[in-house]
Symmetry: C2
Subunit: 407 residues, 2 copies
């Protein structure tokens, strides 16, 4: 019973740091929320930025010479913000509807040859894997798996880089042309050594393309080193960045911009939008398609500014990790609870199993108490995320509620 | 000078019909607007529906068991509305980000064979043409042109069906596997006989696929007959439907659902979203990708309801045509002004040229007087659109301003 009270009482912050951003998020006012890796809360100033953007577009346009400078301003301000987070030039950024589009649009236009091999880690999201399978079917490519799941579960984070590189060396074949690897694995919560992996791939005779799913890393980790090293570094604004759903982006390497053709082609892909004979844009815009919702650009930029105001990316990660470490330690102490990682998580994802408890039932029972976590299929486990706005009291409430679920 | 006054005074409606919908659109309050074919105004109730949807998602979610029924409700209500407008079952509708995605996503997954020919009308949007060119490059297909531009300019609408079918018969080759034809041509404003064209294609040994760009028809014409007949009938919500930018859809034929593979694949394409080995959805959802902005769904549905409240689609077209006919007649009467069509337009697009006046300069001069039309490149002309909310006084103001531009 006292658990429910704790759950409700989380607004009375015991953590001054967490409360600044937190108080701007209506989603956090009536629940105890741990699904930032599914979708982040939208702060009220971001919703206000979205509606203000719509009002401006209606006042000046919606389709007039007067409105174009505003559209261009909102687009380029967001592109510059994302470029700055990724540590790349704005010309290397394409804005996309979601992380899947950011992965697949550039992937589909690379120069594939029959017999090329796609190497995919065993911790990738089913959507990206299914897209690779279909790509392989159409071009007669082969698929191979880079096993990292077991490594993550049984290797200390400090030894993970070496272990992943060794595994990669084993799996690379003469025909390997692509590696798909997430930066922050959505299931175990481990950080992959993307820059080292990229360097390793450069030494391979084929110099395979490196596609990085950054769905969980963007907004939770410092990403610049990885984004600079990958060919395709695809992210979304609606998870850890706490922006609106339906907007993401991708950072692209110079060599991808040299060799990649667009697939979904519309007026935004073309250098001269009124001519079908036009060249593609030389920069990331070649992977942009047609009309998107510009007010969402204003909203995501506002969310990025709110996060930046909370501290440097290193400071923000530190706050995220304070929460995930507290949760991990609490769970470790529960008999019958097994965390997927053998040491405190490097970021905000905490995955675990409960002996004798069915995961779907656990999610349902916790949800009925206003505590929101999710289950994952592969491996079958529960996942709770802590963000910089997570309160210590929330973590204690979740830990206690999980404890009560155990037989 | 009196023109500017007229332009400003258009809120004092002289047309009771026009004012109901019109008064809900802030974009129409401070300008004289004729760019509905570029982007429609967003009514205030639609913006309110969008923000209310966001508030509900934040209150219930954003990622909880409590929010899924709301997401599912908003998605299926919009899908059913669009299906009803298209006269097809909801299973034949895919929701997309824009009309280009609706055209290209299903196109890219059809079973192409080297040497197949794509037949494309000479009045298609450059984005779709560029996508076909890239498709042809990748699969070694050939491209051919169906000339309809001249037909439209020199044939009465009542004779157009016969003329287009005759032209089609001339252009169809044994290897023709696709025809791309807009329903309402964005340049001349002519209506193409889509149902008759579809019937004609059925009789061809190859039964070519029919891709219809419905960017200008959806929301301005009755579309069911054409949407039922096409294989790919792709539209957007942000032009004549007056919904938010960044949301469209496509009606797909049963045979396309049988044979088309998705390209951009994400969790929404998969029958079991957590499994990469899952089948695609059997229905239109196989062409949906990943996270979209659900609040936009709520906004477009509100806009469709507001339009429906203005009368049946036939009644709405009648009001649109009253405006376009008035404008066409005024322009016809101006010496030095030549309309592209030789008779009043069948819908709301009025394209014309001014002798001795450069089109870009004309757009700029009119814009400075608060009158918004656009120019087109191919053919080089001006285009003004009338919607059901266009006032007779607005048309008189535009006509007089155009008259003053002439030497």
């Amino acid at each position: 019973m006292w658990l429910a009270i704790l759950g409700i009482a989380t607004n009375a912050s015991t953590n001054a740091n967490a409360s600044r951003f937190r108080d701007l998020c209506p989603a956090l006012a009536n629940k105890t929320y741990f699904n930032y890796g599914g979708q982040g809360p939208l702060p009220t100033p971001s919703l206000e930025a979205i509606t203000a953007s719509w009002r401006t577009i209606q006042e000046l346009g919606p389709f007039t010479t007067d409105v174009w400078p505003f559209i261009e301003q909102e687009t380029s301000r967001l592109r510059r913000s994302l470029a700055s987070w990724c540590g790349v030039g704005p010309h290397r950024i394409a804005l996309t509807e979601n992380v899947t589009s950011g992965c697949v649009l550039p992937l589909w236009g690379l120069p594939w040859e029959e017999g090329d091999e796609l190497l995919i880690s065993d911790c990738e999201h089913p959507g990206v894997v299914a897209a690779c399978q279909e790509l392989a079917r159409r071009h007669n490519l082969t698929l191979a798996t880079l096993p990292v799941l077991e490594l993550c579960q049984f290797t200390a984070q400090r030894d993970l880089e070496g272990a992943v590189l060794e595994q990669l060396q084993t799996c690379l074949k003469p025909r390997t042309r692509l590696l798909v690897l997430s930066h922050l694995l959505w299931n175990t919560g481990s950080v992959m050594p993307i820059a080292a992996v990229a360097q390793h791939l450069q030494a391979h005779p084929q110099q395979p393309w490196l596609l990085v799913d950054a769905a969980q890393s963007m907004g939770s980790l410092p990403v610049a080193e990885a984004a600079q090293a990958a060919d395709i570094y695809a992210f979304t604004g609606h998870k850890w960045c706490c922006g609106p759903e339906g907007l993401g982006g991708v950072a692209l390497s110079e060599r991808l911009l040299d060799h990649g053709q667009p697939t979904l082609i519309g007026w935004r892909s073309l250098e001269q939008e009124s001519s079908a004979g036009s060249s593609w844009h030389r920069d990331g815009r070649r992977f942009e398609v047609a009309t998107s919702c510009v007010p969402l650009f204003s909203g995501l930029r506002q969310s990025l500014e709110l996060l930046s105001a909370e501290g440097s990316e290193t400071e923000r990660l530190e706050r995220i990790r304070q929460g995930s470490q507290q949760l991990w330690q609490n769970l470790q102490a529960l008999p019958g609870c097994r965390t997927l990682l053998s040491e405190p998580p490097p970021a905000g994802l905490v995955s675990f199993r409960l002996e004798g408890v069915e995961t779907a039932q656990a999610v349902e029972a916790l949800g009925q108490a206003g505590l929101w976590i999710r289950r994952l299929d592969s491996p079958d486990c529960l996942r709770a995320c802590t963000h910089l706005c997570t309160l210590p009291t929330e973590i204690e409430a979740l830990s206690a509620a999980v404890s009560e679920l155990l037989p």
